[in-house]
Symmetry: C2
């Protein structure tokens, strides 16, 4: 399959490499920044372009891997071609594309990418949506070429997925950060906490998180919780976070196990 | 070294195995429950006892691996021996032991243990505190026999460590659980989120969490945050958690990077 990539950021970089490794041909890489386009194009053996006017119709699929806000603005450059177009965003609906492009789809990798960190794409969940059977099938086949975990996900579900990821990943990272700050304030290194964080993430690989919850809240250990709130009295915002999350853990525990 | 273990739960089980593997001899395992004492004693080649009156003074160290509440009650059974005693709790101060036992210490493994899951003790941070130089040295040597990560931590620091672990691990697990519930409500499997959770935990192995924060809050993406709050309107408690954590991420980001 011939694929052209619009964008040269993290998603564009990792996706193009995965396509190429799966035997597909990357025709063009477009970026507003020629240097950035050229770098990625070089790695995947494609032509680099920085002018939308020279984007070639000699391809089977356009992958839009650009910022959410930029997607709508880019549609006019592609809609005349009558070639399938898929965006890679978790938050943009299919309709934003399909109103202008009949063969529109979504090709959303549910993973966080850094340019310098290798990702095994076979483990990345690929969320697919198509405006019609044909494009859905094209995207599903392509997804299976690079990943073992392909899901058909509606635009409404994709929104929920994104929200769930904010809780389970973005907020989680912030809790790591709070832990780091608390340790630093008492002259301790975040290093001490890293193995416990790794084990916490590892534990849920085979379990539902609600069933492996530990800590003072799930034991309803009032004394420890009060002591913790006392320690946080100079940081009322952390007290609020502590209280809200503890209450939610207790509520959840009762919901799953009944009040004893 | 001859070591006797008071307790037969997760910490007792993993610690005794680690001591034995490091070449130490486990003399006795005490538990109120004889079956439980016998099972662990069998695995580590020790004698099982369920009566405090038959605890033998023929040992070099007692390790108390029992519930926090039970520690104070157990002291009378050991204080006549004049043998070093260390507890393994994150929350109990050294003083609770050292008031009654001169050679008192703390031997706290900062990790979450499950009986059925193997733990590589060499990676477990060991937090050591002693009432005097001699016991501190004994515990530090013992800790180095089983772990590569040994820290001298005061009782006050240990409390902070425990609080930081509640944020970075217990609360984190609850955020996983919220993610699972959100997906379930929209007919999606938690399986989809697992790779992203794994990568989020993996990312901070080499970085300070504040420097790798992602998501709508750190981008100050008001539109996405409003859309998320809208989706949660039937779950006001989750709205509160979302708002509080997002505010804290924004505040933290400004603190680290300045307001632009």
């Amino acid at each position: 399959m011939r694929i052209s990539i619009i964008g040269s950021g993290n998603v564009a970089t990792h996706l193009s490499a995965a396509f190429k490794n799966a035997g597909h041909r990357i025709v063009q890489v477009y970026s507003r920044n020629m240097q950035s386009a050229a770098l990625l194009a070089y790695h995947v053996g494609a032509e680099a372009v920085d002018d939308p006017a020279v984007i070639s119709p000699g391809t089977d699929l356009f992958i839009l891997a650009i910022k959410d806000d930029a997607i709508a603005k880019f549609i006019p450059h592609l809609c005349a071609f009558n070639i399938p177009v898929a965006h890679t965003s978790g938050a943009v609906s299919l309709q934003q594309l399909s109103d202008a492009i009949p063969n529109a789809g979504v090709f959303y990798p549910l993973q966080t990418f850094s340019k310098t960190k290798e990702v095994n794409f076979r483990d990345v969940p690929m969320c697919i949506e198509g405006a019609n059977e044909a494009i859905t099938q094209v995207l599903e086949n392509l997804a299976r070429d690079i990943s073992n975990h392909v899901y058909q996900v509606s635009s409404a579900q994709r929104k929920v997925l994104h929200l769930a990821a904010v809780f389970a990943c973005n907020f989680t990272n912030h809790l790591y950060s709070i832990g780091e700050q608390l340790l630093a304030d008492s002259d301790m290194s975040f290093e001490m906490l890293r193995p416990l964080i790794a084990e916490t993430a590892d534990k849920i690989k085979g379990h539902s998180p609600a069933t492996v919850q530990t800590g003072p809240a799930v034991r309803n250990d009032e004394r420890t919780m009060q002591a913790h709130l006392q320690m946080l009295q100079q940081q009322p915002h952390l007290q609020d976070i502590y209280t809200l999350l503890s209450q939610d853990i207790i509520k959840n525990h009762i919901k799953h196990n009944g009040d004893k």
